[in-house]
């Protein structure tokens, strides 16, 4: 038994969960309300604390103390199981995401497995059970429709999600997420060829399929996390809230938590694959121009500061993407259901397939 490994892993898990993800979820909800208010020219929650900053605390207290009501004809066991199943996959996915370089010599990733991205897809695909079961166990029409919509939507968009990342792994040659990050540090971010070895023409050519991949992947992430413009499973006007209509108090809160945690992990995956994860290139002029690399490998306080800086960089990038999520939600109207399906199967699926061929042809001409 390797006690050092077990202790550090436990610390990382607790830190990620309670110091980062849960506070981030509550403040994403706050940000959602403030940004939506700003976009719609309203004020938003601004009463609790300075600028409404303690609103998440008040929300959680309200959710915890509300009456916990279950419909009489609900299938009790699955009715209770569903919110947990909706939350857990979203959080477990974070296990393979490298959210920092090293801190005190410990790599800042919980499980560095060699099939990292497949693990993400596998666990994320389990997230649909929570929603489907929630809709079914409520024994009510609108939640059921929401659950059915959600499962068909997730199955459709998983394909483009999986196909969109293949070009990246063709380029990198590894499925391990830390290797993807290492590649981006050495050769520049996937969609930013002007970083890293920017003199290489193949790098600029490869940026085109990478951009296409990025667009397809981000759109599929929107569909996977049931966010507008693809929030058909919970369309308020049609389904009165969808799969979570019959839920109240903290069970509803868990669904909410799961949705936002899925958004955070989705953004973290996008940051890892396309935006160089924790890497922030800083121009430097020590004997010729190059990009300086800050990481946790220095000794003493420089190493610690570097490691902390990397973690902060990673979550700053995630926060920017979360803002984009919110921005899109309050800007675009919802798709119709057949449009959503057509978009997934006829449009993004084909684009992702062609994209793989283009990447392979470029790589055949310019072998790494």
């Amino acid at each position: 038994m390797d006690y050092f490994l077990i202790t550090t892993s436990l610390l990382k898990i607790l830190g990620i969960l309670f110091v980062i993800i849960l506070p981030m979820v509550s403040y994403t909800i706050y940000a959602e309300r403030r940004v939506s208010a700003f976009i719609q020219d309203r004020v938003g929650p601004n009463r609790v604390g300075p600028a409404g900053l303690f609103q998440p605390v008040a929300d959680i207290a309200k959710l915890l103390f509300k009456e916990d009501f279950s419909p009489r004809n609900a299938n009790t066991f699955y009715y209770w199981l569903a919110p947990c199943l909706a939350l857990i996959p979203a959080i477990v996915t974070f296990a393979v995401v490298p959210f920092g370089s090293t801190l005190f010599g410990v790599p800042m990733v919980i499980a560095d497995i060699n099939v990292g991205i497949l693990f993400v897809f596998a666990i994320a695909s389990l997230g649909v059970y929570g929603i489907v079961l929630g809709g079914w166990a409520s024994n009510s029409k609108y939640p059921f429709l929401g659950g059915v919509r959600s499962s068909s939507q997730m199955i459709s968009y998983e394909l483009s999600l999986g196909l969109a990342v293949i070009p990246i792994f063709l380029v990198v040659g590894q499925l391990r997420l830390t290797d993807v990050v290492r590649y981006q540090i050495d050769h520049g971010w996937m969609i930013a060829p002007f970083l890293g070895d920017w003199t290489n023409p193949a790098k600029w050519l490869l940026a085109i399929p990478m951009l296409v991949s990025f667009v397809v992947f981000s759109v599929a992430i929107f569909a996977e996390t049931n966010r507008l413009p693809f929030d058909l499973p919970e369309a308020e006007q049609e389904l009165a809230g969808g799969y979570n209509t019959e839920y109240s108090s903290m069970k509803f809160g868990l669904f909410f938590l799961g949705e936002y945690a899925a958004m955070i992990t989705g953004s973290a995956i996008v940051v890892t694959l396309f935006f160089g994860a924790w890497h922030l290139p800083i121009p430097s002029w020590h004997g010729g121009f190059h990009w300086a690399l800050i990481d946790g490998s220095g000794d003493g306080w420089r190493g610690i500061l570097g490691g902390l800086f990397n973690i902060a960089t990673f979550f700053a990038k995630v926060a920017v993407l979360l803002f984009v999520f919110i921005w899109v939600r309050w800007t675009l109207p919802r798709f119709r259901y057949d449009q959503l399906m057509r978009l997934g199967w006829v449009f993004f699926f084909e684009i992702a397939l062609v994209n793989i061929f283009i990447t392979a042809i470029i790589l055949a001409y310019y072998p790494a």
Binding site: N114, V115, L118, F121, A122, S125, L133, S151
Partner: protein
């Protein structure tokens, strides 16, 4: 691999595998099968076969069983719950299962190699994903391509069958 983990996941698989058969509710059966698949994936992973384990979760637990559940919910199968248990048939089924397991136990018990402990497997220097990939695309390239064509034919067949007008 820790024997402790092996027994946990093997037990989990067996319990939920039995749950698939014993549950009267089709949704509960489908979910038991999902848990059983997850246990199998964990067993693969404890043998360092991460790729196979993850594909097990991704394909079976994540895609196939979601479709199963989808169909079960859409059809709203309640007939199974109302049906009476045919005790004679289930006794016969149990007898066949017991006979089969006794036979398997007998054969394994008399199998010479099963009575000696295996030497620990040598650690491969090649990543298992690379290993699967190179085997598939170098040694078994032709069968792999043929399977691809077969799947394509099956897909087209399904589309043709489902598009046909019912007369």
């Amino acid at each position: 691999m820790s024997p402790f983990l092996f027994w946990i996941f093997a037990g989990l698989m067996l319990v939920f595998g039995a749950g698939v058969v014993l549950n009267r509710n089709p949704v509960a059966s489908a979910l038991s099968l999902v848990v059983s698949f997850l246990g199998l994936a964990a067993l693969f992973m404890s043998l360092d076969a991460y790729f196979i384990g993850i594909i097990q979760v991704l394909v079976y637990a994540g895609a196939v069983m979601v479709l199963f559940l989808f169909i079960i919910m859409l059809l709203d199968l309640r007939a199974e719950k109302l049906r009476k248990i045919n005790w004679l048939a289930s006794a016969g089924g149990i007898a066949v299962a017991v006979a089969l397991s006794v036979q398997i136990l007998y054969v394994i018990g008399n199998f010479r190699f099963s009575q000696q402990p295996f030497p620990p497997l040598a650690r491969s220097t090649v990543d298992d994903v690379h290993h699967v990939g190179s085997l598939l695309f170098e040694n078994y390239n032709l069968p792999f391509q043929i399977i691809g064509v077969l799947v394509l034919v099956a897909t087209i067949g399904v589309v043709v069958l489902s598009k046909r007008e019912l007369r």
